[in-house]
């Protein structure tokens, strides 16, 4: 069998139903195999769009997302999604074509060292050197992508090798002696953690995207509710705990709620689950949670004590550990009343500093209101992706995510242009669900071209552009920290998104009136096919509250 056809068989053996990509010289054999290979292929307009679509697909479904590109520029266009998938631990496999073996190292046409370029941003990579390795490499790539701490895996295949004839035998086992992720947490450590929690008077449960990745949201929620634990989540973890809820403090970190950040600041014990103490969470590290001891549960041992030294480290899968922690905790029959004072203090912050903004008195649409309107128009029942900037933070703050895999954003890398293709991928993976994208007028232009893909393929995403005419988040920083010197952040009212939508074969709309916004949004949602809505919002609104970069939770402004 031709190796390229064996590749199709290997992909199908992994359960792959759909891939996103764009052909070129070096992966022509693969595309010939795709022609009748029995896998749905979505022709994107830019490989980065394909890569983010694969991520959106993976985040929404929990399955491995797959993206394809040719050698050279096709591969370099995939670099951003690969890095994005690395930082957000997204299970993805990237299949790149490479020039013929004899050309490697000669600076041949469209040759680049894809393996070298991507080496620091992949979980692992396979540079295929013998066509017979392909089925095994694919099998191992999928295994690596989805097990342990998930991440992107690259398989780079030279053109001549995918044309070669091989004997196809399905790969049935992996041979990765150096890869043995720990999944089961140490029972002794779990018991210690339970005992510390039962004795703590000011605990906070701080969860992250690892809970979503582990499929452990239900277990996590049950654990949090075993006592009156205050719960906060990172931007990656939203949906792991059903918001709103009386134990829910809101998101923490740079644009988190004061209640969440102050609770971290005064906690005596912080239980981190599937979270990695990123600088957007800790702010100034030396002043982060100065009174707290830390339980840190993570599947990646290297995360433990990387930024914040853990007192009780537990390495393993949250799905395995959290129920055992719960059982140990319950057996201690802790005194629930011990948390009364703590809650009194937290509720005081919640009352004093709720998330708030000054709504307009006229028809002007405040960006925060736009998020609330989308929540109302969808009844909260939608998958929502976002780009990167103010609109992302407002969506995280004001859209209540009550289930995991419903909030799809680029948290680690902060990639503008992520939202639209990610929504496309999520919609492909979840055809029966409503998929919306909250886009920035700057960000959306970075992967607009995929609207053509959506139109052609009938992928009915609803894109709502929060149009403030600015690269808003950067403008905000310039306003607050650079003396209002607005340097290269104004974009005006270009382009005309409604006309653009039309040109792409999607439906374009423009909303400017707050009073009818919810109803207008409903109409957009009910419109068939892909819809791009230009929502004109207040231009110079700031995302608050905020911990200025490098400062402590106590220094929150706004």
């Amino acid at each position: 069998m031709r190796a390229a056809d064996a590749l199709m068989e290997a992909l199908k053996a992994e359960g792959v139903e759909v891939v996103f990509g764009l052909p070129g010289g070096a992966n022509l054999p693969t595309y010939d195999a795709i022609y009748d290979g029995g896998i749905r292929h979505i022709l994107v307009r830019h490989e980065a769009g394909g890569g983010h679509a694969a991520e959106g697909y993976a985040k929404a479904t929990g399955r491995v997302g797959v993206a394809l590109g040719t050698s050279g520029p096709g591969a370099t266009n995939l670099v951003t999604p690969i890095c994005d998938a690395m930082l957000d631990s997204v299970p993805t496999v990237f299949l790149t074509g490479q020039v013929r073996t004899e050309l490697i190292g000669t600076d041949g046409f469209q040759e680049c060292d894809t393996g070298g370029i991507t080496m620091p941003i992949v979980k692992h990579s396979f540079m295929v050197q013998d066509p017979r390795e392909i089925p095994q490499a694919v099998h191992e790539a999928f295994y690596l992508a989805r097990s342990g701490r998930p991440g992107p895996v690259l398989v780079d295949i030279p053109q001549d090798l995918s044309r070669a004839d091989i004997e196809y035998e399905p790969a049935t086992s992996v041979s990765l002696p150096g890869y043995q992720p720990t999944t089961e947490g140490n029972q002794k450590q779990i018991r210690l953690a339970a005992k510390a929690l039962a004795n703590s008077r000011r605990p906070v449960i701080y969860g992250g995207g690892g809970i979503v990745n582990a499929g452990a949201a239900a277990e996590f929620t049950e654990f949090c509710l075993a006592d009156r634990f205050p719960v906060t989540l990172t931007v990656m973890g939203l949906g792991a705990f059903p918001a709103p809820h009386e134990q829910w403090l809101g998101m923490l970190g740079m644009h988190g709620t004061r209640a969440a950040n102050y609770a971290m600041d005064e906690a005596d014990l912080i239980c981190a689950i599937g979270a990695r103490f990123d600088d957007r969470i800790t702010g100034k590290l030396s002043e982060f949670a100065p009174r707290a001891k830390f339980i840190h549960i993570d599947v990646d041992p290297a995360e433990i004590s990387k930024n914040v030294p853990a007192h009780i480290p537990i390495v393993g899968d949250a799905k395995n550990i959290v129920p055992r922690l719960l059982a140990e905790y319950r057996a201690l029959e802790p005194d629930r009343a011990r948390l009364d004072d703590w809650w009194e203090r937290i509720q005081h912050w919640q009352r004093q500093h709720p998330l708030r903004y000054d709504d307009s008195a006229d028809s002007e649409i405040k960006p925060q209101y736009m998020v609330q309107a989308l929540y109302e128009a969808t009844g909260g029942d939608a998958i929502v992706s976002s780009d990167v900037g103010q609109h992302q933070m407002w969506t995280a703050q004001y859209f209540h995510f009550s289930r995991p895999r419903r909030w799809i954003n680029s948290g680690g890398l902060g990639t503008m242009g992520f939202g639209l293709p990610a929504a496309m991928g999520a919609q492909v993976g979840c055809p029966d669900q409503l998929v919306c994208c909250m886009a920035g007028d700057g960000s959306v232009q970075m992967n607009m071209q995929e609207l053509a893909t959506c139109a052609q393929e009938g992928i009915p995403i609803k894109v709502f552009i929060m149009n403030n005419g600015y690269l808003g988040m950067v403008r905000q920083w310039q306003e607050l920290f650079w003396d209002r010197r607005y340097s290269q952040v104004h974009m005006g009212s270009y382009p005309d998104f409604v006309k653009l939508a039309d040109a792409y074969g999607a439906t374009g709309m423009r909303f400017e009136d707050k009073k009818t916004l919810v109803e207008d949004m409903r109409q957009a949602i009910d419109t068939e096919g892909p819809v791009l809505v230009d929502v004109r919002v207040t231009q110079e609104e700031n995302t608050y509250p905020m911990i200025p970069a490098g400062q402590a939770a106590r220094d929150m402004v706004g």
Binding site: S125, L176, G178, A198, S305
Partner: protein
């Protein structure tokens, strides 16, 4: 406090954090890797990306041809060694890492010194070579090449002593190490 099997709780004050600590000394890491393309780049790239410095690096085959051994030394005063080893463990082709304790292992390095000397100073250089149990591996009218094997401090003291004669060049392999006793490194 917090005895296992009891309901006794754990005092938070008694908890101590481990990890992230600088040990303040040199560490010799003996790493077994699969002999796959790009392994060395992955290791070197990881050090570069995480801002860790490799002080010395030696790579060679083992008794198993599918496996190579990388021996590298890292300064534990500058870097948290447990972070270094945990990050290394994440490389799929890394099979085993051992942080060799000085007292439980033997470390050796080979160095070649090209030293300027004439008939007047040659005797003294040869004498030093003998004291250090080195070998002259090449001799010319105006220079000699000396081979010294030993732990890095021995090589460094030899270097100090021959410098005044005119050290033309020095080449060192970087340390390799093996554990003491019957067990595998």
């Amino acid at each position: 406090m917090g005895e296992p099997g009891t309901k006794e709780l754990l005092s938070l004050e008694d908890l101590e954090a481990a990890g992230g600590l600088r040990t303040g000394r040199k560490h010799v890491l003996s790493i077994l890797v699969e002999n796959k393309p790009g392994v060395l780049t992955r290791i070197a790239g990881l050090f570069a990306r995480r801002g860790f410095n490799i002080d010395t690096l030696a790579v060679g085959p083992t008794d198993d041809e599918a496996v190579s051994r990388v021996t590298l030394t890292v300064d534990g005063a500058k870097h948290p060694i447990d972070q270094v080893t945990k990050q290394l463990h994440k490389l799929v082709n890394v099979l085993k890492i051992r942080d060799l304790e000085p007292e439980d292992s033997v470390a050796r390095e080979l160095a070649l010194f090209k030293i300027a000397c004439d008939s007047g100073s040659r005797g003294e250089v040869l004498q030093l070579t003998e004291i250090f149990r080195g070998k002259v591996v090449d001799a010319g009218r105006r220079s000699v090449v000396v081979e010294i094997t030993g732990a890095d401090d021995k090589i460094e003291s030899f270097e100090q002593l021959v410098r005044p004669f005119g050290l033309i060049e020095m080449v060192r392999t970087g340390e390799i190490a093996i554990s003491r006793g019957r067990g595998e490194t």
